[in-house]
Every structure is written in structure tokens, then in C-alpha cells.
Symmetry: C2
């Protein structure tokens, strides 16, 4: 069973499972606006470097992180597009959320007139 999706997103399983951990979400927060080396990420947690490295591995495998090597360091950053499966899931199960998001966007960044004729 479990037929393959032909969407740009692979199985959403890995993405959702990766996101279902507070440590990993915190890692994403740290790298969502700028790259950070693994060591600096690890320093923010009450875990060993190795444990954080494993979390990074999970996020990387889910496609949520980009990795760039610079000398001995590895710089990580959030790959925003990889959240596409989450958006699809929301669109499928809670289409009403779309309009709520729409309102939120309009309130946050009101545009003069961007409506379709």
C-alpha cells in the first residue's frame, strides 16, 4: 500500500516526525534567518554535542536543513520550501485555515488593491 506521491514533497512522514520534537523545532528557530555552525547550535542546548548532531541529522534527512561546509565547520540553515508538505496537509484538512491566514496576512501587510477582477 502507501503509493508514492508525485508531488514535489516526498513523504510528509519524515518532515512531520522531525517537527514533532521541541529540540528540533528550537534548532529550526535558531537557523531560520541565518546560518549557524553545528557547534553554536549545540551550545544552546543542555545536551551533548553528539545528541544535537543527531537531531541535525534528522532535520537534514527530512530536507529541513541545508548544509554548507566551511573549513572544519558545517553551517546549517532552514530550507523553508521543505515545509511544503505541512502546507499541503493544512490545505487538505483545514481549508478554512487558509482564509484565516489570508486575514492575518492582510492585517499584517495591508496592500492597496491586489484583488482579482
Amino acid at each position: 500500500m502507501a503509493e508514492r506521491r508525485q508531488s514535489t514533497s516526498a513523504a510528509p512522514d519524515a518532515v512531520l516526525r522531525a517537527l514533532a520534537d521541541p529540540h528540533r523545532r528550537q534548532i529550526l528557530r535558531l537557523v531560520q534567518h541565518a546560518e549557524l555552525p553545528a557547534g553554536q547550535i549545540a551550545a544552546r542546548f543542555p545536551l551533548t554535542q553528539q545528541a544535537v548532531s543527531q537531531h541535525i541529522g534528522v532535520l537534514k534527512q527530512a530536507g529541513l536543513l541545508t548544509e554548507r561546509r566551511e573549513g572544519t565547520r558545517r553551517l546549517y540553515a532552514l530550507r523553508h520550501e521543505s515545509l511544503e508538505p505541512v502546507r499541503e496537509l493544512l490545505a487538505e484538512f483545514w481549508p478554512d485555515a487558509l482564509s484565516r491566514l489570508k486575514k492575518a496576512v492582510e492585517t499584517a501587510h495591508p496592500r492597496p488593491s491586489t484583488r482579482k477582477p
Copy 2:
């Protein structure tokens, strides 16, 4: 040892973990538009009734399902609002997705004028 997860906010964890399983997502698809008794849900899967019952339990515990008893049967339905943590997560990590959703909504349901004062 290994101090267990000190959940910053345990809310999204249960929802995301519950959603990170294809069987459970399929259950949600079955009940997203209409109630269904547990037995009819179970009949759609190549699993035992008990296994599906456990999946339903996970979804219920995450707040994703409502339960209504009718005689010996228990009718389940998707509780859409429980996807709120998913929406929040998307808003936090992929704000650009909001405008993409906004466009999708505008294309689907163009409104005359519904702006906030």
C-alpha cells in the same frame, strides 16, 4: 538519566506526532467531512480492529478527533481547529507560505472588500 523532554509547549508535539503516520492521516481523510463509526474506519485498513482503535486513540488524545457515542457505536469526526498548532508552526517557520495561501484563496474565492479598519 536522560531527563525526558521538558516540553516548552507540549501542544504541538502530540498533534504533529499523530499526523506523522500515514494510517492516521488516512483515518482523518475518512472522517474529515462526515462522522464514521470505528468499525467502518477499521474496515478500510489491512490492520486489526484493535490496531486501528489504537490509532484512533492517538488521534483522539491529540485532540484531532471528536467522539460521539450512539448505542454501542462510537462515531468519530475530524476536529479541524485542532490543527491550529500546525498553522502556527507554518506561520512561524514559513511566513512566505502565508502569501502563497493568500493568493490561492483569492483565486479560489475572490471577495469584494473585506479589509479591517
